[in-house]
Amino acid sequence: MRAARSEENCDWRPRAGRETLRLRAALKAQVRAFMDARGILEVDTPHLAFHAVPDPELSCFSVTGSRARYWLIPSPEYHLKRLLAAGYGDVYSLSSVFRDDEVGLLHEPEFTLLEYYRVGWDARALAEEAAGLVARLTGRPDGVRFIRYVDLFEEALGLDPLTVPAEQLWKAIEPERRPVGIEPDDRAALCDFWLGTVFYPRLGERETVIVHDFPAEAAALARLDPADARFAQRFEMVVGGIEVANGYHELADATEQALRFERDRAHRRRTGRPDVTVDSAFMAALRSGLPDCSGIAIGFDRVVLLAAGQDDLASTLAFPLAGCGLEASA
């Protein structure tokens, strides 16, 4: 644990300058005007939840109360989908979310997420609308380029990441750059390595890039392509080398969702992550019927960072955790 700091050594001043905070506030106002003009309803959803999420690579903070144990939400997705299932129509949330163990230049354990849903829309239409919003907020050009997930690999490596032996994805990495701790046959991790550390940093210099048709294994809460079940109708948005958003044509099949939860939980057990309980209210909402819809989560702090032309997420925040010796507390 971090040693208590004496008052003299404590840097109490805000990290972001007033100009950046003014920009941040203006961008929030722009988001709200954009949503309002389209009839998308802002809702406040709880930050304390009774369940963590089973995502294989996500850790939630737990909070111990005197009556129960809670979890800080890593996204408002379950609550927003309960509103959608209840027939509230297009909704959005612009609020703090929390993810444990994520600290870095582009990561804060507490950050602001803009998450919104469009009833009756497909993923492409939502990706286009959201790309327009992000371009407007960041003051960048409007152009959007759509590229399929597998085509990123085909273009750069001449390999189809889903069909080649995983070792080829390993061998394609220069020997000294091969990641420590990853097995050469771990296809999912190798795909993430290429995507996150090689491809994304090079993308979106001039235009907004939408990487779409993720492999079914990385579907998360997206539905599979009805025409080709090897792919999920999931996309990510990359601007200036930074991943700013993740969207789905939402999975509405409760049975399929339950299967994915169990698969994710099994994965968590294998990789030594704590098990999680399934959110029964969310599952019941899905069973009662989620309208056909698409949803997207946009990292609002990263949008501010791009708009402000900075390269460190902490500098867009008045009081970032990362800047307060969080790294030193381990």
């Binding site: 995502d55 294989p56 690579e57 996500l58 163990d101 994520e102 600290v103 870095g104 230049l105 582009l106 990561h107 000294e176 750059r177 091969r178 990641p179 420590v180 701790g181 990853i182 999912a188 991790a189 795909c191 993430d192 390595f193 995507l195 996150g196 550390t197 994304y200 990385a218 998360a220 990510e236 991943e243 993740n246 790294e327 030193a328 381990a330």
Partner: protein
């Protein structure tokens, strides 16, 4: 043995990788959306001084390296080893030629050096930032000769070679920057 997870990597941490000790310079957390997280780390090999970039699976653990920097006085060289003394404990340490690669040509005796110890054995010896040494050989240097940029080669008493201004003569003392191997000024005893 102490181990560290990648999330504990911070500037200055000493770790062992492939049998060699490294100093962590920079650690960047990279996580694609919902996928596997990585730590992209810049590290310096303490044996070769070479900086490399390495990517770790986030949460992976590595062994810590027992590496400390201690200021010590250089005593003498016996043909195979360079001998140093800890100023407080008077304990003596000897370094083989590998840790001396950068330092040997600047030392004649009594200099205070930074000795990096790994498992209590010298891993790297860093000479003082500047040293004062005598010029043992240099051409007289012709006045007005600017073809060589106003400098000429000189050999120093330790065997090191540096370029010096034309007015420097054999037998003079000069001050040399050991990091750049460049002449700084005339030296004093």
């Amino acid at each position: 043995m102490t181990t560290y997870t990648t999330n504990e990597f911070k500037s200055g941490l000493k770790i062992i990788l492939d049998g060699d000790p490294y100093n962590v310079i920079e650690n960047e957390f990279v996580k694609p959306g919902k996928g596997q997280a990585f730590n992209r780390v810049r590290i310096r090999n303490l044996k070769t001084n070479r900086v490399i970039e390495k990517t770790f699976k986030s949460g992976d653990t590595v062994e810590g390296a027992d590496v400390v920097d201690v200021e010590m006085q250089y005593l003498y060289q016996d043909g195979t080893h360079w001998h140093f003394m800890h100023p407080e404990t008077f304990e003596q340490y000897h370094a083989e030629s590998a840790p001396m690669a950068d330092a040997a040509r600047w030392l004649k005796g009594e200099e205070v050096c930074m000795v990096t110890l790994w498992n209590n054995r010298p891993l790297l010896v860093t000479p003082p930032h500047t040293v004062v040494l005598r010029v043992t050989r240099t051409d007289p240097g012709l006045r007005g000769d600017t073809s060589s940029g106003g400098s000429k080669p000189a050999e120093l008493e330790t065997g090191a070679s540096v370029r010096v201004p034309l007015f420097i003569q054999e037998g003079e003392l000069i001050k040399v920057n050991t990091r750049t191997a460049e002449y700084v000024a005339r030296g004093k005893e």
